[in-house]
């Protein structure tokens, strides 16, 4: 993909950081389980690389706060750190890990990013909201446990989106020779 294309894909992912949470808000009050704002950021990192993912992870939640009031400003710093980590780390892993199996690449990138992102978000929360060394562990664990369902849902959802985009020929196929042989 050209840089122009990556930029515009990143721009729509930023827009989706605003739109997706609104869509989920209207269908059910499960925004906290689905963490819809995570989806475009993870996807942006996977498809466009770390620099674009990082940009999306920082700008996306800020735009969402401005245009919808969600997340509230009090949550914004820790969410920003978390999403920035997602975009950055999915991008780095995805461009460096080539197992010849797209599923494996996606899972490794997603899980690596989601674990690391949650750790830094937990640390950020502890630093912002309560200094003290035991609280650090408490924030990190609580954040981990409460967001576990979200991790599982995203591991199912995001690869499906990637495949749909590949089938619709909107993004290049990652392993063309292999899928042709199947």
């Amino acid at each position: 993909m050209t840089n122009v294309k990556k930029s515009i894909f990143t721009a729509v992912c930023m827009a989706l950081c605003v739109v997706l949470p609104m869509a989920f808000h209207s269908v059910q009050n499960a925004g906290s389980i689905f963490l819809p704002i995570h989806i475009p950021v993870l996807l942006c990192g996977l498809l466009c690389g770390w620099s674009f993912g990082l940009a999306c992870g920082i700008i996306g939640p800020v735009l969402s706060s401005l245009f919808t009031g969600m997340p509230p400003i009090a949550y914004l710093p820790s969410m920003l750190v978390e999403l920035a980590a997602y975009g950055l780390i999915t991008g780095i892993i995805m461009s460096n890990v080539h197992t010849k199996r797209i599923y494996a690449d996606l899972y490794i990138s997603l899980i690596g990013a989601m674990l690391a992102g949650r750790v830094v978000a937990g640390i950020a929360k502890a630093l912002i909201f309560s200094p003290g060394h035991i609280t650090m562990a408490a924030w990190v664990t609580s954040y981990f446990v409460t967001s576990l369902p979200g991790i599982i849902i995203q591991i199912v959802l995001i690869p499906s989106i990637v495949f749909a985009l590949e089938r619709a020929k909107l993004i290049p196929v990652r392993y063309p020779q292999i899928s042709r042989n199947q």
């Binding site: 495949f163 749909a164 089938r167 619709a168 020929k169």
Partner: protein
């Protein structure tokens, strides 16, 4: 199974800066097996009206009745409504998402209690009905098809539910004349099979050729409702509403203004041709 709107009003986003009154006390009744066209200037509330009929919006006031039952009554089963009323939006292909055509067409059927053989036969029927070859296409990825095929697959997904009422919101906008015609032929076949068809369109020629009755909306109110020839006979009012009448009707109207004694209830080209031939024989043409 008649559809009735009883004094239905709808306001978007009430109490916000986006508040917009889209429909104002509309009362209308559509009988089983009718083929109805809805016309009106952009923003006059056509889409709002059909989404109210499909139960996708809930009226701000008034009632939507299906077979005499209020569909927004707490006791009305949503599943029943979804089965009976199908709706095709302007770009139906945008709703495709499954990995194969077969799965996409069968998506709505999951919610009906059907066994797998029934599901397969419905899917096959729906695909053949829209003019696709079931055997060839069912394993393909619906997302990789051409634009026209995608649209057909999406429409098949609605038809597979065998809705008794089929609603279409500007389905032919952007189609080329050949595709448009074959699409309307499809609707005509469904209509002959007993399906009630409600179609929103700006294309007066097409509506004139296929529908029997036309509703005209203006700024949220129902301003005209009648047989096609009656609605189109009032060229002045249609012009005042910024709407077209069918071209044959327009020609007859212009000839009439020039003093040619041609009937003013002409809607289609065949009728125009017959009338002109007749006039020529009787020496009425200059």
């Amino acid at each position: 199974m008649p559809v009735e709107l009883d004094q239905v009003s709808y306001t978007y986003a009430p109490g916000t800066v986006f508040e917009a009154a889209a429909l104002d006390r509309v009362t209308v009744s559509i009988e089983d097996g009718e083929f109805v066209g809805i016309m009106g200037h952009t923003g006059c509330g056509k889409s709002t009206m059909i989404q109210l009929i499909a139960g996708l919006l809930v009226p701000s006031s008034g009632k939507v009745l299906l077979d005499g039952c209020d569909i927004n009554d707490g006791g009305y089963r949503r599943g029943e409504l979804r089965k009976r009323v199908g709706i095709v939006f302007q770009y139906p292909e945008y709703q495709l998402f499954e990995s194969t055509v077969e799965k996409d067409v069968a998506f709505g059927l999951k919610h009906l209690a059907l066994n797998s053989a029934e599901v397969r036969s419905r899917v096959a029927w729906a695909l053949e009905t829209v003019g696709l070859n079931y055997g060839e296409i069912c394993r393909e990825s619906s997302l990789g098809l051409s634009g026209g095929e995608k649209r057909k697959v999406a429409i098949a997904g609605v038809l597979a539910m065998k809705p008794q009422i089929l609603i279409l919101d500007e389905p032919i906008a952007g189609l080329d004349p050949v595709a448009r015609d074959s699409f309307m032929q499809l609707l005509d076949r469904l209509h002959n099979g007993g399906t009630t068809i409600i179609i929103v369109s700006h294309n007066a020629d097409i509506l004139g050729d296929f529908t029997r009755r036309i509703l005209v909306l203006n700024k949220g109110s129902l301003v005209m409702d009648g047989a096609v020839k009656d609605v189109f006979s009032d060229v002045a009012q249609m012009e005042a509403l910024n709407l077209d009448v069918s071209r044959p009707r327009k020609i007859a109207h212009l000839l009439g203004q020039r003093g040619v004694a041609i009937p003013q209830d002409i809607v289609r080209y065949e009728e125009l041709l017959t009338a002109l031939t007749h006039l020529k024989k009787s020496g009425g043409l200059p």
